[in-house]
């Protein structure tokens, strides 16, 4: 049985841990608010972008023969690029592992189907998980550790790399894995195909007018501009959603940890008290027994 001194030490150490988790929870809460505002502020842009894409795609119609490859695809789906976006830091519950799991399942499925798979990890945590199994098909990890707030530039850099690979015929289909932020307690790991894009069917009031759009310079030139842009926007959106999800997941994980530490302290304190009581009783018995012997 642990001595009183041991118990006292353990209580002190759990208390110290609880202080840390509590602090981490509060920091995550503050960061979450900022990340959430950023994610929400970015939503209008990607929504409008979807509208524009839908309009142009409708204008081009089913005739995909001279549509750019970025829209219509390369016509093959042999080589897949999986872009797995996770966090740079741990201690955020199942956040990283659930995204990585989704990516791993997809990769296994594709490999089993005889496809070629390449994996591009954004963030080191996902890479650590996937490396054990897919080390030979992993591309260098995109490191965002130094980045405090994800900006459009970060997304543009990644998109640039991805598009460069696409131009060099390094892959046919790109899928992006990230975690969609729903609420503090719920983040949904999501897979989204970004090349070729799944065109959203947006019902807008301009639907009837869309056929009469005039294009300056012309459809194809706008598309040539728009499509790479769309890739960037999708990646940017994923990064922002991820940032908010990460903080949300960390907040609830740390909340749990703080509560657990509290329970542990209660339990240890109880044992401590009981043991001290027992010791006092033993001492009393000894004294009384000594007095009676006289």
């Amino acid at each position: 049985m642990a001595s009183l001194k041991d118990l006292r030490n353990r209580i002190a150490s759990v208390k110290a841990t609880q202080k840390i988790t509590k602090a981490m929870q509060m920091v995550a809460a503050a960061k979450l608010r900022r990340a959430q505002t950023a994610a929400e502020a970015a939503r209008p842009y990607s929504q409008r972008m979807d509208n524009v894409m839908a309009n142009i795609a409708a204008a081009i119609g089913d005739d995909t023969s001279n549509a750019p490859k970025l829209l219509a695809g390369t016509g093959s789906d042999q080589t897949h690029l999986l872009i797995v976006a996770t966090a740079e830091r741990g201690l955020c519950g199942g956040f990283n592992s659930s995204i990585a799991r989704l990516g791993r399942e997809k990769a296994r499925e594709l490999l089993a189907g005889g496809k070629t798979v390449k994996i591009l990890c954004i963030g080191k945590k996902g890479a650590d998980v996937l490396r054990s199994e897919f080390d030979d098909i992993m591309l260098p990890v995109v490191d965002l550790r130094e980045v405090k707030h994800v900006g459009y530039n970060n997304a543009a850099d990644i998109a640039h790399q991805v598009l460069g690979m696409f131009d060099a015929d390094d892959f046919d289909v790109a899928t992006l894995f990230y975690s969609e932020f729903q609420s503090v307690i719920s983040q949904i790991p999501t897979a989204q195909q970004i090349i070729p894009p799944s065109i959203p069917h947006v019902e807008s009031d301009a639907d009837s007018a869309s056929t009469f759009y005039e294009y300056e310079p012309d459809e194809n030139e706008i598309l040539a501009d728009l499509l790479p842009n769309n890739v960037t926007v999708q990646i940017f959106r994923a990064l922002l959603e991820n940032a908010a999800s990460e903080q949300g997941a960390r907040m609830s994980a740390m909340d749990n940890a703080t509560r657990n530490a509290g329970e542990m302290i209660d339990k240890l304190t109880q044992t401590f008290n009981r043991q001290r009581q027992a010791q006092i009783t033993t001492e009393l018995i000894e004294i009384i027994a000594g007095a009676e012997a006289l």
Binding site: A42, Y45, N55, Y152, N229
Partner: protein, 138 residues
């Protein structure tokens, strides 16, 4: 009284302006255009420049934009800019930064020998230089 239409200016980071506008001037790749309500539906890409807005309540504002598109319909105008900031927020440092980025891009394409992109970067740089007097406070 002039008719109004819905105007929205969005950059990837946020929605900069949304409201009823009376007139908007847009720096399209093939020239500036002034847009009033009931304009024919046009989709145009943008060149770097100033988007001027006259709101329904008579207030006016201007924004520096770089890259992106304008989606014009008879009842609405949406400007999707890759980069946008209010004209009065453009400081000398921010402006120099923009020019530096443009210069780097130009040199990058120059080194890579990509004629088409080099030309595009050059005309962009040119554009910035021409805009400078109208944006930077004297």
């Amino acid at each position: 009284m002039a008719e109004n239409f819905t105007f929205e200016l969005v950059s990837p980071e946020k929605l900069l302006l949304s409201g009823d506008a009376e007139m908007v001037t847009i720096p399209g790749v093939e020239g500036d255009m002034g847009v009033l309500a009931k304009h024919a539906a046009v989709m145009t890409s943008l060149r770097p420049g100033l988007v001027g807005v006259k709101m329904g309540d008579g207030s006016e504002s201007a924004f520096f934009v770089r890259g992106g598109f304008a989606d014009i319909t008879p009842t609405s105008v949406t400007v999707l800019a890759e980069f946008a900031m209010p004209k009065e927020d453009v400081t000398k440092e921010a402006w120099e930064e923009q020019k530096r980025i443009a210069q780097e891009e130009y040199e990058l394409h120059h080194a890579a020998g990509d004629e088409e992109k080099k030309l595009a970067a050059h005309s962009y740089l040119d554009q910035l230089n021409r805009l400078e007097p109208s944006i930077l406070p004297a």
